[in-house]
Every structure is written in C-alpha cells, then in structure tokens.
Symmetry: C2
Subunit: 188 residues, 2 copies
DNA sequence: ATTATCTATAGATCTATAGATAATGC
DNA sequence: ATTATCTATAGATCTATAGATAATGC
C-alpha cells in the first residue's frame, strides 16, 4: 500500500489538480474530501497525510489555478501585443469558457466562496489577480494610473460578464451578454 | 402551537426574507434548513409545510431579492435621469455594499451557486436581470442596440468589480477596484 | 375537522482521526 | 524503522419525513 516518496509527491499534486477542477465545477461545499480523493484514485483516509484540512487544499488549489491562468494571460498578451483588450475579451468571454467552469477562471467560478474563506485562500487568489492586472496594465496606453484603472475595469467587465452568462437561464441572453462585453472592450 | 392562516402566511414570508439574507451571506450550502428556520423563529420540522425543498426556498429567495433590487434600480434611475451610469456605479460599487452581502446584489453574492442550481432558481434570477437591464438601457443614449449593449457591459463591470473587491485580501486593492470601475463608468 | 407547528428521528453525508498494513529507504 | 496509504469509525451535520399536539376555522 505504501508508495515511494516520489509517487507520494505525484499523488499530492494530483489531489490539488483534481480539487482545482472539482471545486470550480461544484463549489467548495459541493464536493467532499472523500470524492476529491476518489477523483485522484485514492481513499479518503489518506487525505490528512497530505493536507491539514480541506480549506488548506482549497488554498493550494486556488494557487495552482491562478498560476495557470496567469501563464495563459501572459502568453496571450505576448502573442497579441497590438490588441490586448480585444484578445483577452474574446479568450475569456466565449461559450467554451462559460460551459467549462472546471477548467476556467477561478475568480468567476469561486469568487463568493473565496470571499467567505480564510486568509490563506484569499492570499492565493489575490496574488494571482495582482499578476493578471499587472500583465494587462503593462500593455495598455496612457499613464501608469490610467493603465491600471483600465486593466481593473476590463477585468471586472470580463468577470461579471462570465458570471452573468453562467447564472442566466436564457441561452440568447447569455450569448448576448458575452458579446456585449467583448464589443465594449474591443472598441475601448 | 398552531397559528392563524394569516400568521402562517407571515411566517412563510419571514422564512423567505431570512433565507434571502443568509443565503447571500453564507452561500446556499453554507446555511442549513434548521438554522434558516431558527433565524425565522421557528423549528425546522415546520419547514416542509411551507416549501417542497430547500432549493424551492432558494428560488423564492432569489425572486424576492431580485424584486427588491429592481425596485432600487428603478428608483435610483428615476431620481437621477441625467447620469444613469455614474449613479448606478456609485450606488453599487462602494464599501458598504461590499461589506454587507446579505443585503446586496444576489447575482454578486450567489452567481456561481445559481449557475449550479435548477431551472426555477435560474428563472427567478434571469427575470430580475432582464428587468434591471431594461431599466438601465432605457436611460442610455444611442440606438436600442447600443443602449442594450452598454447596459450589459455596465452591469457586467459593476458585478465583476464587486465580486473581485470581495474576494481580494488587500484592502487597498479592494478599494482601488471599486473606484476604477466607478471612474470608468462615470466617464462613459 | 383541519392544519400550522412541534418533537423526534431516519438515513445520508461530512470532516477528521485512530490504528492497521505493507512497501520504501536507511 | 519509517511512512504513505488503507480500513473503519467517531461525532457532527444535513435534508426530509412521521406522527403528536393544539389552536383555528367551519
């Protein structure tokens, strides 16, 4: 039953990976430790050898998901320096992202959950958000202050557009919301 | 123990009222039927005389909270027809709203929860969102299409700004986010 | 007689822990 | 000998229901 130190480290990584997906899909209270472990191919008793608590895992899962998002933002912005807002808006506000929360933006999937969580969780998210804002701001025109303000407003619009598009029942309205924010950011 | 038909109707209303507050504060899975009933001054066994299920109550709580928000939007927009975006932005994006989720926007507090809920819940939210968008759009300049697009983009920016401001750990960043979106909407 | 609410509980789940097991790493 | 994982379970919670109680509304 025991595995090598190396395999244990891989198991731990896989738990975080699975958790970052399932938390985003089902919410923090929507998935239990036993099912998270099952998703990683382990039994739930082993969980507490890897983490102190479920919320500890959430903090790590947030960190991992944010790191991945930051890398995505960086690569997109580097590939399209001529149109940062339009590029990010189209990548963020589309039906694929809307319909696959488990692979998408942690803030959009878990914002209210994180707001209710402890400091470690919020720290992980905050660090990622700051990086994203810095990446985007650096590509925008204007004074440093204007860059920062525009980056924040753009991120807010994308985030809110995605949250609304997911919460709403009417497929036409949902699509319209995505497109409206994209259009607004393309012409900004 | 039994109360009058009239009192029972008031009790039912109070359950919905309490639920709309506690769901927004703690999330759908963050508060149980027993504590909701205790919040309304009743025992939890009586719950199922009023509602078929907890999710049924969520749908009603969403409807009630959205109705209240719609009335607030309407009154604000009527009082300040000269600056709809700035007025709404300042009313929505401030520290009071950020720090009292239980009394605030249902979409910002429960967006992801609603996205995972059943059709009745989504219907209640969608109906409210449509009314809010119509109210705001009617006050904006441009063609009907432009009005609608601007209303959607503005609502998205407000919503996203609030969600981020709540999720983030750094008080300065949180305030900056609120102010950045307000500034953007004031000059739009 | 009807019914709104109560007490009590079924049955399922949840986080976390205790102790056994068996393979690794010294 | 150490330790990663397992089985089993404690103890708390959760939604929902059953049946008793007592006041309303006919």
């Amino acid at each position: 039953m025991r595995v090598s130190r190396e395999q244990a480290a891989l198991n731990r990584e896989r738990i975080v990976e699975v958790a970052s997906k399932l938390f985003r899909e089902k919410g923090y209270d929507g998935i239990g430790v036993a099912d998270l472990m099952k998703g990683a191919g382990l039994t739930h008793g082993g969980f507490y050898g890897h983490f102190d608590s479920k919320e500890d895992l959430l903090a790590e899962a947030c960190g991992k998901a944010m790191d991945y998002s930051v890398a995505q933002w960086r690569s997109r912005l580097e590939r399209h320096p001529e149109d940062p807002l339009g590029t990010m808006a189209r990548a963020y506000l589309n039906e694929t992202h809307r319909d696959s929360a488990g692979k998408g933006c942690m803030v959009a999937a878990m914002g209210p959950d994180v707001a209710r969580a402890g400091e470690a969780v919020k720290n992980a998210l905050t660090r990622g958000v700051k990086e994203q804002l810095a990446l985007l701001a650096a590509r925008l025109p204007g004074t440093p202050q204007a860059q920062r303000q525009r980056a924040m407003a753009a991120y807010a619009a994308m985030l809110g557009g995605l949250v609304m598009a997911r919460a709403v029942n009417d497929p036409e309205l949902s699509k319209e919301l995505l497109e409206a924010v994209v259009s607004q950011l393309e012409q900004a």
